[in-house]
Symmetry: C2
Subunit: 207 residues, 2 copies
DNA sequence: TAGGTGACAGATTTCAAGTTCTGAAACCTG
DNA sequence: CAGGTTTCAGAACTTGAAATCTGTCACCTA
């Protein structure tokens, strides 16, 4: 006969991911997960304190896959910071787009966590902001970008590209013109970050 | 006794707006509206072909109020185009913020129409884009901005400020730091639009 | 004692019924 | 005949009872 299953956290996560994919985040229950594993639902509560914790763990793991691709671009010093910034923003859109297309249920789960201000979303955003900050810091250090605080500039770039990474706009990412629109915004932002003498009219003080 | 009510479209719109405010877009029915007017619900169908048309008309009217304030800023040639652009974007946020705060139910109605791609939302966006295009065209004509097509540039600026005008982000507008964030994005965009010689690294072609 | 069980209380979801709503029709009335 | 009415069919919503789910507890057992 088959050896007894040890039932570790990873096995549970895999089964939960599967269940989530099959039933969607709204209908997937921990009883479903337990059934898939052939155990009673209390068994999974030995490993995860709550259904929410379980969903967060699955989503976190799912988000972390493919993070390397982005981090590689952010850290690729072969590319000049401006090129790197554009490549990174394009890659973020491509990655999100692929996730929505290939895994709509899991993306929906992420969207729900984001909407309810889960730490999963906050951490994911913090991670992205940090990669962005790295690129900008490189550009500032190398003289390509002019900006005071790299973290503040990262925030501004992140804000200006909301349409291309915020889950609320996921449906629009499948539209054909979306890459061109991101490209136009990128160009504008790169011009804005570029080093050059300031002109008085751009300052915020009113006459 | 009171004179008989003529029941024109405007009276119905006012009653609908009231009903919408009282019950919210999800629960307001045309029977409610008719009750408020003291007529049978079929009477309102003499003036509006469907409940959707009624909701759209109310929302359109509600959106049009305060449009003048924005148009005035967009057309204010006293202000240089860069200042005007910042003032306009700030005013859009302020106007939307006020609408959400003072009229959450009507804003929810607008949000629903936007989500289901009603022409009300499309027209509203087109109107804003046109005002934006006007400011940018002025700036390009006057030599302050460098951009090919003003309409394309308007689209890029609109996209880059999604966080500050798209209904999906309405909840975040009440957060305290939001004006500062818009300001940072404005500064970046104004720098990006500003006239200056191009540098090769900003172009899109890959090595 | 780490990892499992079944029984349970209270919250949530489902489902079928009854109700209300939308929109059309045929019909008044000044 | 513009502007109103009642009546009606089918869709959409509400409601309340039954089923299911979450999370706890006391209890096995290797």
């Amino acid at each position: 006969m088959a050896a007894k299953a040890p039932l570790d956290a990873d096995t549970i996560l895999a089964a939960t991911e599967d269940t989530l994919r099959r039933h969607g985040p709204a209908k997937a229950t921990v009883v479903d997960v337990a059934r898939a594993l052939g155990v009673s639902h209390t068994a999974v509560y030995k490993h995860f304190p709550s259904k929410t914790a379980l969903r967060e763990a699955v989503t976190r793991r799912w988000l972390s896959r493919g993070r390397d691709t982005l981090a590689a671009i952010a850290g690729d010093t072969e590319l000049s910071p401006p090129r790197r910034l554009r490549a990174w923003l394009t890659a973020v859109l491509a990655a999100k787009k692929a996730k929505v297309r290939d895994d709509p249920e899991l993306y929906a789960a992420y969207g729900m966590l984001a909407a309810e201000h889960s730490s999963v979303a906050a951490d994911h955003v913090a991670d992205l902001l940090d990669q962005l900050r790295g690129i900008l810091a490189d550009g500032i250090a190398g003289g390509a970008f002019q900006a005071g605080d790299p973290a503040e500039a990262a925030r501004a770039v992140f804000d200006a590209t909301f349409r291309f990474h915020h889950p609320a706009h996921a449906a629009e990412w499948q539209a054909p013109g979306i890459e061109a629109e991101l490209d136009a915004v990128c160009t504008l932002l790169l011009h804005g970050l570029q080093t050059r003498p300031t002109t008085p009219d751009l300052r915020h003080d009113h006459p």
